[in-house]
Structure formats: C-alpha cells, structure tokens
C-alpha cells in the first residue's frame, strides 16, 4: 500500500434538482500520508468533498460535477450512519465484500478479512451475525471492510457523530491505530474538532458558502480566535457550549398546564418483526422517573440504556409490559393520538421519520391544524433560521436544517409537555443553539421538557438528570 496523493481542482457540484451549486471553484490537495481534518457548518459541502474524492458523485449520487478530482490510490470511505455499510448477515462475509469485488483469490480474501478484523479489535468470530452488533461495533466493522482493500486514503464522514462518548472513543482509536500502522493518508469530516486535533497534521474550515475560510495546522489553530471560527458553527476546542437561543414566549408558551407525567415501576419491551419472526428485547425494567413542570429533565446513559425508550413511553407511544405512566384515565398509551398530541410533543431521533408533507411551511402547521391551533408560520421559521426554505421539500434540506424543522414541526402547536429523542446528535453549533434554545425557552414558559441524550453539553444545560443503565435508573 502506498499513501495516496489526492486533489480537487476548481471543483464544483450541483445535485440533481437543486437550483444553486453546493460547491464552486474549490481547490484542496492532500499530500501522501497527510492527516487532514475538514470542518464547517451544516450544509457547507463537507460531505460533498468527501464523496467527490470517493468517486461516487455523479454515479451513486445524481448531479453535475465540474473541475477535476485526482486520487492516485485506492480510497476507503466510512459513512456517518454505521448501519449503511452492512452488506452481509455475518461479519466475516461482510468484510470480504471489498476483496471479492477486487476479484481476489479465496485464501487472500480470508487473510485480509482476518487481518482487518484484528486491526480494529473485533472480539467476535467470523460467523457472528452483523445484526447483533451495536452502533460502535458496526462502525468498526465498516472500518474493517474498508481496510480489507488496503486503501491509500481513508475518508471518514462524521464517523462518530451517532455514537456515545465511549463508542466514539473506540472508533477513533481504531482509526488512528490503522492510520499509524498503514501510513495511509486520512481525511476526517467532523463538527466536533477537539477529539481529533491532537492526531491530525492540518485543519481546513469551510464557511457556510462552501469556501475555505481557514487552512492551518492544529498548533496555529489553537492561537486563532475560536469565536471567529465558531461563527461558522464549528465546535472549536476550548469554547463553551453555544448560548441557547432565547425564543419569544409567544412561540413556546404552553397552551395549558402540563399533565404531571410520571413513570411508575415502568417496564417496556421492544418487539421487532424480522424474517424469522418477532424478536423481543427488554428495554426498561422497574423505572421510576418524573417529568417536572417548568424544567428540563435529561435522560442520560450509555447506548442501549433505554433513554429513547423512556422518552417514547412518557410520550405514550409505547405499551408497558409492567408498571405504568401515570396520567388521567384512560391508560396513557390508549389515548387517541389527537388528544395526546394536544398534551405532548415528541421529536423523533431521525428527523425524516416525522415529516408528513412535501413543503416546509406545511410541515409547521399540520399538527396545529389537526388540533385547531393557530401558528404564525413566518415567525416560527424565522426563529429557527428556516425562512428562506419555506417552500422547499423537507427531504432536500441538510441534516441541521431537517433537525430544526423536526423541532418546530413537532412543537409549533405549543404542547405543555415536550419530549426530544437525541435532538443534538451530529449537529453544528447553530442548530444546537436552536434546538436547546427551544427546549429551555419552553421550560421557562412553564412546559415540562424531557430530553433523551448522550450529549454532555445538553445534560449540563438541563435542570434535572435521570441516568439510566441497562434499562434501570442508576443515579438520581
């Protein structure tokens, strides 16, 4: 394997169906063996650069490329969502996918599979089902799949943004060990700069307009004014968490007092249908938790602890197997969706799952119309910085824009109880400020707010914390 030299010259990209290009006239070069960190606000075109170097623009992603892309060795691409790269039901066979495509002989394939899995520290046998892996393990499996082709350039697209701190650290360590071992060039795209800074040679910051605003070494970056760079939405080291937006009370004040929602020895099992029949996994056991009015309560804990499940159960969206969520009759999960929506707003972890219409401005009012509540669409969109996108299709927004839209779509009708599922995962500072700002402003206006999150900055900003561990409450 030789470390790759890669370059974009006068590069531009316009996705199919977009009026304006995402990037124009961009020049960026990576020297052999260089480790480069690329950062910038949501929608600035970071992922586009990565995909251009990976050679998938125009092929897997329809649109128009201009300028030149030069890469002189094999690349390896790691995507944000760990599940997206899985192609086989068993881990050995999954890692073998690349070598198979390269038409290698069978002995060579398995030699590479074993070496790659050893390099990333996978503790399981080759026959282990990919379905049984956690998010962090899936991301490391994807890394092994990439390694099996012995790439000269590793391209990582926010590889840890969906993971909790411990899993993110595991993936980072695996990446750095691999780079140290193989000498491959590295390009990491990340919002959170700090954890990578000690391990890269160079940092490039993209501005909101898709042009390079800083291209420097980590040492010099430390001397620069972090606030100036944070203006681009980047999580610079040494900066305090962004100031949550202070939203006008007219947008967030609950229409009536919140129901006193309380989980009482709550037990919930999650049931998923698979090809082999339903699979049941216990998610919560004997949980007591309370959602206080006029306060933000954070549900924290490692991945799989049951944070999201508790939020969904408090929102009345899950049926308990034992215990209950205390609410007025009938049983909370039996309330008619419309009546419950008047009491509780719930924001899903995946913003796209909640979209019901094909225009941003319709999305804001659809629940309010169902309940007969007036909403000022213009002011609401203005407050979260989406005014210019009022007529856009929700599915065409960037990740950060979708997140802000999901918040207003679920909460614009001013319910007295707010439940948010991992609302800040992978977000830039501006979106963070809008999301946390909405939660805190609503709490100040009297709402009871619950947030399931592994984001320490969000936990620090909340009034109460309920820590879960393997489905039980750990510390109060």
């Amino acid at each position: 394997m030789t470390p790759a030299r890669a370059a974009l010259r006068g590069f531009g990209w316009q996705p199919l169906g977009r009026r304006a290009p995402v990037l124009t006239g961009l020049d960026l070069a990576i020297e052999p063996g260089e480790r480069l960190l690329l950062t910038g606000p949501s929608g600035s075109g970071k992922s586009t650069i990565l995909r251009a170097l990976a050679g998938v623009l125009g092929a897997s992603v329809p649109g128009e490329v201009s300028g030149a892309v030069e890469v002189d060795a094999r690349i390896g691409l790691l995507l944000q969502n760990p599940g997206d790269a899985v192609v086989a039901a068993r881990i050995g066979r999954d890692v073998a996918f690349g070598p198979e495509n390269a038409a290698m002989a069978r002995e060579e394939i398995w030699r590479r599979v074993r070496e790659s899995l050893a390099a990333i520290g996978m503790p399981y046998a080759l026959e282990h089902p990919t379905q049984a892996l956690s998010g962090g393990e899936l991301q490391r499996l994807a890394l092994a799949g990439v390694l099996a082709l012995e790439p000269g350039l590793l391209l990582l697209d926010e590889p840890t943004s969906m993971l909790d701190a411990a899993n993110a650290e595991g993936v980072r360590r695996a990446v750095l060990a691999v780079v140290a071992q193989t000498g491959a060039s590295l390009l990491v795209v990340e919002h959170h700069v700090a954890p990578w800074l000690a391990h890269v040679d160079r940092v490039v910051v993209l501005g909101a307009d898709g042009h390079i605003t800083a291209d420097t070494s980590p040492q010099e970056l430390a001397c620069m004014d972090p606030a100036a760079l944070a203006g681009d939405g980047v999580w610079m080291p040494g900066l305090p968490a962004p100031t949550p937006l202070d939203l006008p009370a007219t947008l967030v004040r609950p229409r009536h007092a919140p129901l006193p929602l309380r989980a009482e020895s709550l037990a919930v099992e999650l049931r998923t249908r698979t090809m082999r029949g339903p699979v049941t996994t216990p998610a919560l056991r004997g949980v007591d938790a309370e959602l206080a009015g006029a306060a933000v309560t954070a549900f924290t804990g490692p991945s799989g602890a049951g944070k999201s499940t508790l939020a969904a159960a408090l929102a009345g969206l899950l049926v308990p197997v034992a215990g209950r969520v205390v609410a007025p009759e009938p049983a909370w999960h039996r309330w008619r969706p419309r009546d419950r929506a008047a009491q509780v707003g719930w924001v899903p972890q995946n913003a796209e799952h909640g979209f019901l219409t094909s225009r941003v401005c319709h999305e804001v009012v659809v629940t309010a119309n169902r309940l007969g509540v007036e909403v000022d669409v213009g002011e609401t969109l203005e407050a979260v910085g989406l005014s210019h996108l009022a007529d856009a299709n929700p599915y065409q927004l960037s990740g950060g824009e979708q997140r802000r839209l999901a918040i207003v779509a679920a909460l614009a009708h001013r319910p007295p109880v707010l439940l948010l599922d991992e609302p800040t995962v992978g977000q830039d500072r501006d979106t963070w400020a809008a999301v946390v700002g909405w939660a805190m402003s609503a709490a100040r206006a009297g709402a009871a707010v619950g947030v399931a999150s592994h984001d320490p900055a969000l936990a620090a900003a909340s009034d109460h914390e309920v820590t879960l561990e393997r489905g039980r409450v750990a510390i109060r």
């Binding site: 969502n81 969206l317 909640g354």
Partner: protein
C-alpha cells in the same frame, strides 16, 4: 465448513443447513403441483403431508404459524368468494381454499430460512447468474428486517403528531398508505447510502468478482430436494389415480 455448525448451534433443524436452492425449489415446485388439487380429499392429504414434513423438519413452529395465519386469511377469502360466485357449493369452495394453502404455505414458510449471502453464492457460482445483480439483491434482502423497525418509528412519529389509525376504515387506509409511502422514501434513502458504501468498496467496477465462500451440495440437500419433489408430486399422483 464451520458455517453450518455455527448456525446449528443457534437453531436446530434440517432446513437451517439446507442449500438455499433446495428451499427455493421446494417452495416453487408446489406451485404447478397445487393445480392437481381438484378435490377436497386430495387437497387435505397434500396439506397434511406438508404439515407433517414441517413438524419434523422445522426448528421452530412459531414463524411458520405466523405465516400460516396470513395464508389462511387469503384462503378464507378464496373460500368465501368461490362459495358466493360458484353457486354456493361448499365442496368446491373448500377445495379452492385448500388449494391456496397448498400453493402458498410451503414457500412462505421456507423463505424464512433462506440466508441471503448463501443464496447469492448459489445463484452466482452454481447457476452463473450475473454477479452484480445477485450481490445487490442479497444486500437488499439482508436489509429487509430493518423495514419493520423503520415502520415502527414512522408510526410513532405520526401518532405523536396527532395522526393515527382510527375506527374510521377510510382514515385507517389513508394512514397506512401514508406510512407505506414514507417507508418507501426512507428505504430509497437507505439504498442510496448503501450504494455509496458499496461502490466505495469497489462494487461499481466489479464486473469480474470472486466469491469468499465455496458452494456446497450435501447428501442431505439431495434428500431434501427429493422430498420436496415427492411432496409437490403427491397431489398429481393422487389425481392421476
């Protein structure tokens, strides 16, 4: 090979070790066979034979029972419409219903036990189908289970926003339609991401590719294939007699 042993230790039964082509054949052979179900006794004997084979060979009857329910529903609808339109003849109607059961049940149950990677190996290596097509299909099948989970998440998000199934059947139908559309959108999104990941791993240019695992055909596979043929032929033989 280590693979069958590892699988055996999870679930027991011959169909788990069976070559996916055998499962496919057993599920498809019954389709022409079921046309010979011309009377109720023939149908009941054929169905009984399949049920017996199922009890003996399947590692667990739970997934089979779920599928039986769905196929039963189709069968009952056929019985009713045949009875209604076919001059209220109970015997004819029941025969038609049993025929549907014989036709659909084996395939519906056996589909559960097809491992997508092994199926791709067989289709690509033994039957020589185009590798890219076979591998893409296998990767898509492997993601099938995710659809159930996505459906749950979509349903939750809709109910939280005040929309959900109600007692009004028209509304409930509209709700299911909107969920299905959202599921398709979400599946397409996932497929795009997946194809990016696959192409970055050399799939885009893999016009000639190799296979990490060999295909194996055991004596047990031959025996199961014979059984599948015999079961499918049973109604034909009974009809000829």
């Amino acid at each position: 090979m280590t693979r069958p042993e590892a699988r055996q230790h999870q679930l027991r039964g011959a169909v788990l070790r069976a070559n996916p082509l055998v499962l496919l054949a057993a599920g498809l052979l019954v389709v022409p066979g079921s046309f010979a179900v011309r009377s109720l006794p023939i149908g009941l004997v054929a169905l009984g034979a399949y049920l017996l084979a199922g009890v003996v060979l399947l590692p667990s009857l739970r997934p089979a029972l779920g599928r039986l329910g769905v196929v039963m529903l189709a069968s009952v609808m056929v019985v009713y419409s045949t009875w209604l339109l076919g001059g209220h003849e109970v015997d004819t109607a029941l025969t038609a219903g049993v025929r549907v059961l014989v036709l659909a049940l084996p395939g519906a149950v056996l589909a559960v036990y097809v491992d997508p990677s092994r199926l791709a190996d067989e289709l690509g290596q033994r039957l020589g189908l185009p590798a890219r097509f076979v591998v893409a299909t296998s990767a898509a099948l492997q993601r099938f289970d995710q659809l159930g989970q996505t459906w749950q998440h979509l349903d939750r998000a809709r109910r939280a926003r005040g929309f959900g199934p109600s007692r009004n059947p028209v509304r409930t139908f509209g709700y299911a339609a909107s969920l299905t559309f959202a599921l398709l959108v979400s599946a397409l999104r996932g497929a795009t991401q997946m194809s990016i990941a696959m192409d970055a791993r050399g799939f885009a240019d893999a016009h000639r590719r190799t296979w990490a695992e060999p295909v194996v055909w055991t004596v047990e596979d031959s025996a199961l294939l014979c059984l599948g043929i015999a079961l499918a032929a049973l109604p034909v033989i009974l009809y000829a007699l």
